[in-house]
Symmetry: C2
Subunit: 196 residues, 2 copies
DNA sequence: GTCTATATCTTGATAGAC
DNA sequence: GTCTATCAAGATATAGAC
């Protein structure tokens, strides 16, 4: 058995989990090593043993988040052949992340908003996330038009970027309204528009 | 002459200007009294004379931003009678804020992302901003459908919220891509979709 | 209304014992 | 790999002179 998914998370993973959740809730400038210390039950200095700087920790958090996102995208494409179903499943990622976790943001959404506060290293990982997502969506939109499953005017990439922007924005605006089903509603509206 | 728009800004206004710009760039958790001090050329303690707490400053910044936004919305409605033209002018607000200022975010967009870090007082002002914008947009979308100028399916409010989310999200995603004309492109795409 | 000075706390990070 | 102890810097905020 190559993976030991049943054993409890390593300290390193616990730190990454805590950091990811803290960033989603309070942003990169809104969390500290002390917060992680409390959450994981380990001293600040021990965190530095695993991630010597905050930037290094940030890079690792975004990398892991991107890897998981990529796995989800691959899973969608292997589960669904129709672009319409793929897009619906994509929306469901955002809905689940938001609705199931008391209106938590996309990790990379809040980091993008804080771009100017990030080290170059973290920012580069951030860009990779958005490049991956926009490329995937563009491909889906192209297929959708070819198969006449999705209705839109103009360029597939423009539509993909607008779609991605809408979902990221929905998480942000939904927080301001403290609306638990905001992303679900926006997602449904977006899909409806594309099936016109 | 009732207004003295030619005289230089009061210290209070200078502080508000600095705070607004700093928040747009680095977020609420990303700026300090020291930053304002450097920007305005005044000591930290003097800022406390005008705004005794950071929360108080935050409230004032959002209130002023909202007032200006409201004035813009009123100006649009008095300048244009067509819903389509109103919506186009609304998009232009976001485009101008983003493109002219090296990809600066909507003040309330980044604050919404940082919701959990805000005092209740600041958060309440934030909600007012989004309520005002969504109500205005809903009204425009209703008129647009009645006059057959805008094409969309379903509820006007849902479309208004999706539209607002798209613009807010475009500013965020555009930052990740370091794309100077991202909001303009997304805005054009959104308008095209509504004129289908 | 602005300043100097200071208080108090928190931050990211390091040194060194175990 | 985790701990205690400590650091220097930066944070919000206050006291009191001018």
């Amino acid at each position: 058995m190559p993976t030991d998914s049943h054993i409890s998370a390593s300290t390193r993973d616990k730190i990454l989990n805590a950091a990811e959740n803290l960033i989603k809730s309070f942003g990169y400038n809104g969390f500290s090593y002390e917060d992680i210390s409390k959450s994981v039950g380990i001293k600040k200095s021990s965190i530095h043993h695993h991630f010597s700087t905050k930037s290094e920790l940030g890079v690792a958090v975004v990398q892991r988040y991107s890897e998981r996102s990529q796995e989800k995208l691959e899973l969608i494409e292997s589960n669904y052949s129709s672009p319409k179903a793929c897009l619906k499943a994509y929306v469901e990622i955002f809905v689940a992340a938001y609705d199931n976790n008391s209106q938590e943001l996309c990790l990379c959404g809040i980091l993008a908003a804080e771009s100017k506060s990030l080290s170059q290293e973290v920012f580069i990982e951030l860009q990779k996330f958005f490049t991956m997502n926009s490329n995937w969506l563009t491909s889906i939109f192209k297929q959708g038009k070819n198969l006449k499953e999705l209705t839109y005017v103009g360029d597939a990439r423009d539509q993909a970027l607008a779609f991605l922007s809408s979902l990221e924005g929905a998480m942000v605006v939904g927080k301001a309204f403290k609306s638990p089903d905001f992303v679900k509603k926006i997602g449904a509206t977006l899909m409806k528009d594309l099936l016109q």
